[in-house]
C-alpha cells in the first residue's frame, strides 16, 4: 500500500483529499503545516508527497526543499496561482510536478499514480558525457574520480530517455509522456524547467549547452 503525505492548511481540502486517497487504497499522512509535514515524513517515509504552496510559517517551497534534501520521493506542488514564476519556483525548489487550484481530483490521482509507477530504466546502457559517466543500472552519475553527481529521479529519467533515442529529437509532449508518464495532460513548462535544472548540473556552461540542446520549435536532443 503506497504511503502519501499531504501538506495542506485548508481543513476541508485536506480531509477531502485524505478521504479520496484512502478510497483509492493509499495510506495517508496529513499535516496542516510544513513543519509538521517534514516531521511526519521523517517518521513515515512516504512514497509520494502533495504540498500546498500557501502555508502558514514554512512555505510550500521551503517544505519542498526540506523533503527533497531528505529523499528522492516524487513531490507534487499544489499552487493557487498559475503564473510561470510560481511554477518555476515550485519546480526549482525540488518538486517534480505541480497542479493549480481548482484542480480536477482525477487528474491529481492520475499524476500521483504515474509518479509511483515510474521506475528507473535499468536496462539502458551506460554512456560517457565529457567528465561524467551515466550508469543506468546503478541509477547514478559519476565523475571521472568516482564521486557521485546527485540527480533527482526525474532528472535522471530525463537524461536516460534522451540518451535512449540516440540523438533523435524528443518533443516536450514526448518527454512528458516518457518521463512523467502523462498521456493527456501536463505542461511544457514542466519539461523546460527540468531541462534547465539538469543543464545546471551537467553542462560545463549551462548558458550555452553542448549536450542538452534545444531544437527550436521542436524539442530537445542529447548530443554525445
Amino acid at each position: 500500500m503506497p504511503r502519501i503525505l499531504i501538506v495542506e492548511d485548508d481543513d476541508h481540502i485536506r480531509t477531502a483529499l485524505r478521504l479520496m486517497f484512502e478510497g483509492e487504497g493509499f495510506s495517508v499522512d496529513d499535516a496542516p503545516t510544513g513543519e509538521l509535514g517534514v516531521a511526519l515524513f521523517a517518521r513515515m517515509a512516504s512514497d509520494v508527497a502533495i504540498v500546498d504552496v500557501m502555508l502558514p510559517g514554512m512555505t510550500g517551497f521551503q517544505t519542498c526543499q526540506a523533503l527533497r534534501s531528505a529523499s528522492d520521493l516524487p513531490i507534487v506542488i499544489v499552487s493557487a496561482r498559475d503564473e510561470t514564476v510560481d511554477v518555476v519556483l515550485g519546480l526549482e525548489s525540488g518538486a517534480d510536478d505541480y497542479v493549480t487550484k481548482p484542480f480536477v481530483p482525477e487528474e491529481l490521482l492520475a499524476r500521483v499514480r504515474a509518479h509511483l509507477r515510474r521506475r528507473p530504466d535499468k536496462s539502458a546502457n551506460a554512456f560517457q558525457m565529457g567528465e561524467l559517466r551515466v550508469i543506468p543500472d546503478e541509477g547514478v552519475v559519476r565523475y571521472r574520480d568516482g564521486s557521485e553527481l546527485h540527480l533527482t529521479s526525474t532528472e535522471f529519467r530525463l537524461l536516460t530517455d534522451l540518451a535512449s533515442v540516440n540523438g533523435r529529437v524528443l518533443s516536450r509532449e514526448d518527454l512528458l509522456e516518457r518521463v512523467w508518464g502523462y498521456d493527456y495532460f501536463g505542461d511544457s513548462r514542466l519539461v523546460d524547467v527540468h531541462i534547465r535544472r539538469l543543464r545546471m548540473k551537467i553542462e560545463p556552461d549551462p548558458a550555452s549547452p553542448t549536450y542538452l540542446v534545444t531544437v527550436r520549435g521542436t524539442g530537445y536532443k542529447l548530443v554525445l
Partner: protein
C-alpha cells in the same frame, strides 16, 4: 449636416473682424482728414482771394490799364487764375484762366453783392472758385484755385490707410492662427488621447505643458477622468479575480468530495446515483468557469508576461493540436498543410497559442461535433491556422459577437447546450491578440465554421 471646422471658423472670424475694424478706422480717418484739409485750404484760399480782390480794386482805381499785367502777376504768385467782370462783360483775366470755370450761379450771387465760394468739378478737376464783389468800381472779382495738391495728398492718405487696413487684416489672420493653435491644438491632443484610450491604451495621459489656465484645467481634468476610469476598470477586474480566487478552495473541496462519493457510487440508491452524476457534471462546468475567469482576470491585469519564442509554425501547430486533443480527451483533428506553406517561422508565446488552439478545438467539440481539419496556409505575410468543423457554422451577424464574453450563439441555444463556459472564444481572442495575431470566423469547406488565426510570419524558412 456638414461638419464645420472650428479652426476655419476662428480664422474667418479673426480675418473678417480685423478687416471690418481696420476698414472702419481707415474710412473715419479719411473722412476726418479730408474735412480738415479741405477746410484749411478753403480758409487760406478765401483769405488770399480777399487780399487779391483788394489789390485788383486799387489797381482799377489807380491804373486800370495795368489790370491784365496785375492779374498775371497774381497768377504767377499764387498759381491760381483770376478773372474780373464788369456789367456782365469779362473785363480781364489772367492768361491761364477759363471763363467757364466760373458758373452763372456764382456770377449772379456776386452781382447781388454777396461774396461767394464754390467747389466745382470741371472736366475731372476739382476747383475752388471764390467770387468777391467790388462795388466801388462796379466789378466782380473771381479767383479759381486748383485743388490738385490737396487731391494728391488725399490720394496718398487713402493709399496709406488702405495699406494699413491690409496689414491689420493680415495681422488679424495671424492672430487667428495663433489663437487657433492655442485652442484647437489642445483639443486635437485631447481627441487623439481619447482615441488611444478607446483602443485600450489605458496608460495614455495628456502631457501637462505650460499653457493657458483653461487648457491646463482641461488637461488636468482629462487625466483625472482617465485615472478614475482606469481605477474603476481595475477594481471591477480585481473583483472578478477576487471572487474567483475565493471560490477556488471550496470548489477544490467540492470536487474532491464528489470524487469520494463516486468511489462509493455502488452504495447509493438509483436516485442518489443520478444526483451524483448531475453534481459531477455541473461541478466540472463550474471548475472550467472559475478556471477561465481566473485566466481572464490574469490576462486583463496584464499579470502574465509574454514569453515570446520564434518557432517553426507548422510544427508548433502540430504539437499544439496533439496536446490539446489529448488534454481534453477528444478526437485529434488531422493537420493539413497546403503545399505553398513551406516552413515559416512565427514568434509566439507557445503556451498562450496552445491555449487558443485548445479552446478552438473544444469549441468545435461542444458545438459542431468536433473539428474536422486544422488547415494551414499562407496569406501574404501571414501564417493562417484554420480550425474547421462541419457543424451549422456561425451566422454572419454573430461572427464578431462570438468572441464576446458570455456570448451564447444560436448554435448553443438550438442544441440546448450549456457545456461551455462562454469565455473560451473570448480568451482565444485575448491570447491571439497578445501574440500579435488576429482571429476571425469564416465558413469551412465542409460548410461549418472556420476559425482562422492569422499570425505574422517572422521569417520564411527555418534556418
Amino acid at each position: 449636416m456638414r461638419q464645420r471646422s472650428l479652426r476655419l471658423r476662428l480664422l474667418i472670424t479673426f480675418g473678417l473682424g480685423a478687416l471690418i475694424v481696420s476698414g472702419l478706422a481707415a474710412t473715419l480717418t479719411y473722412a476726418g482728414v479730408h474735412r480738415v484739409l479741405v477746410n484749411d485750404q478753403r480758409q487760406t484760399d478765401l483769405r488770399q482771394a480777399y487780399v487779391n480782390a483788394a489789390l485788383v480794386r486799387s489797381t482799377l482805381y489807380t491804373s486800370p490799364t495795368q489790370l491784365a499785367n496785375e492779374l498775371n502777376a497774381i497768377q504767377r504768385a499764387t498759381h491760381s487764375n483770376v478773372l474780373v467782370q464788369t456789367h456782365h462783360q469779362w473785363l480781364s483775366k489772367s492768361t491761364g484762366a477759363a471763363t467757364q470755370d466760373v458758373s452763372r450761379k456764382i456770377v449772379r450771387k456776386v452781382l447781388a453783392g454777396d461774396p461767394t465760394e464754390q467747389i466745382r468739378n470741371v472736366n475731372g478737376q476739382l476747383i475752388f472758385v471764390v467770387g468777391v464783389p467790388i462795388p466801388a468800381v462796379e466789378t466782380q472779382f473771381f479767383e479759381v484755385f486748383k485743388l490738385n495738391s490737396l487731391e494728391n495728398t488725399l490720394r496718398t492718405l487713402l493709399l496709406v490707410l488702405g495699406f494699413g487696413a491690409l496689414v491689420t487684416f493680415l495681422l488679424g489672420i495671424a492672430g487667428g492662427l495663433w489663437v487657433t493653435r492655442r485652442t484647437v491644438r489642445p483639443l486635437e491632443r485631447v481627441s487623439l488621447a481619447a482615441a488611444a484610450i478607446a483602443e485600450g491604451n489605458l496608460s495614455t495621459r495628456l502631457q501637462v505643458t505650460r499653457a493657458d489656465r483653461e487648457v491646463q484645467q482641461l488637461t488636468e481634468s482629462f487625466n483625472e477622468m482617465v485615472s478614475q476610469l482606469v481605477e474603476r476598470l481595475e477594481r471591477d477586474a480585481r473583483f472578478a479575480s477576487d471572487v474567483s480566487h475565493e471560490l477556488r478552495s471550496p470548489l477544490t473541496t467540492l470536487a474532491t468530495t464528489a470524487t469520494v462519493l463516486q468511489q462509493h457510487r455502488d452504495e447509493l440508491s438509483p436516485a442518489g446515483q443520478a444526483s451524483l452524476d448531475l453534481l459531477v457534471a455541473d461541478l466540472s462546468i463550474f471548475q472550467s468557469l472559475v478556471r477561465d475567469l481566473l485566466e481572464m482576470a490574469r490576462t486583463d491585469a496584464g499579470a502574465v508576461p509574454l514569453v515570446i519564442e520564434t518557432v517553426a509554425g507548422v510544427e508548433l501547430v502540430r504539437q499544439s493540436v496533439r496536446s490539446a486533443a489529448r488534454r481534453q480527451g477528444i478526437h485529434e483533428p488531422p493537420v493539413e498543410v497546403e503545399a505553398s506553406v513551406g516552413d515559416p517561422l512565427v514568434s509566439v508565446d507557445r503556451r498562450r497559442f496552445e491555449r487558443a488552439i485548445t479552446n478552438l478545438i473544444d469549441n468545435a467539440h461542444y458545438y459542431a461535433g468536433g473539428a474536422t481539419f486544422v488547415r494551414l496556409n499562407v496569406d501574404g505575410s501571414q501564417f493562417a491556422v484554420n480550425v474547421d468543423d462541419a457543424g451549422t457554422g456561425v451566422a454572419l451577424e454573430e461572427r464578431d459577437a462570438v468572441f464576446e464574453r458570455f456570448f451564447r450563439g444560436r448554435a448553443a441555444h438550438d442544441r440546448g447546450l450549456a457545456r461551455g463556459t462562454g469565455l473560451g472564444l473570448a480568451l482565444v481572442r485575448d491570447h491571439v491578440r497578445a501574440i500579435g495575431g488576429s482571429i476571425q470566423v469564416l465558413e469551412s469547406p465542409e460548410g461549418g465554421a472556420r476559425f482562422q488565426i492569422l499570425l505574422p510570419i517572422t521569417a520564411e524558412e527555418a534556418p
